[in-house]
Symmetry: C2
Subunit: 126 residues, 2 copies
Amino acid sequence: MSPTEKRALEEGADFAPRFDAQGLIVCVTTEAITRQVLMVAYMNQLALDKTLETGEAHYWSRSRQSLWRKGESSGQIQRVLSLSVDCDQDALLLEVEPQGDGGACHTGRKSCFYRKLKGGRLVFVE
Amino acid sequence: MSPTEKRALEEGADFAPRFDAQGLIVCVTTEAITRQVLMVAYMNQLALDKTLETGEAHYWSRSRQSLWRKGESSGQIQRVLSLSVDCDQDALLLEVEPQGDGGACHTGRKSCFYRKLKGGRLVFVE
């Protein structure tokens, strides 16, 4: 990437998400009101388009290799309040308002990050 | 993965980070005190080991293909207050206390997520 391209990517107003070799971009999803990180997932162009079109988070399920409308079965629809991109446009950040029970994790917990490392072991914080 | 293995991964106390085919795991870094998402980066086993050993965030630079002690040149050392792992252990979350000028982004801004998408264009929020 030339210095001019780098500058456009980092300081420009053009949204130019850089999908990886698999056509995916990582997405961090936070609860808008508390700023809690709820989950990390991936989008492809289709999931991103659907997210922008509907205002509800869509991801690409790498395990199922299919479009994943978050909350379709669980009711944990994520209303998107904002979408940000990082400096080099290879990561996205969503601020959402979770619907349904307010959670995001398939294990029944609010956030997927429910374990902290302490002394070499994982301790449950939720 | 068998149901037993899945259960151990999701409900166990063993820290078993799942690095990808390139030996990397994605890491979301937040400022502990404000919960602001500062950046998204990657760790390999070495970077993770160094982070745990020193209490300071280390990443793996994919562009430079080298260990990256965050803040080594910028002074933006990240003191790690906690490290969490997500349900299927393929993403990490750090809560840090940024040193130096308190920022994390190489562009001089506090967070790498300084642009929000509005009406198809990026708007600077920092």
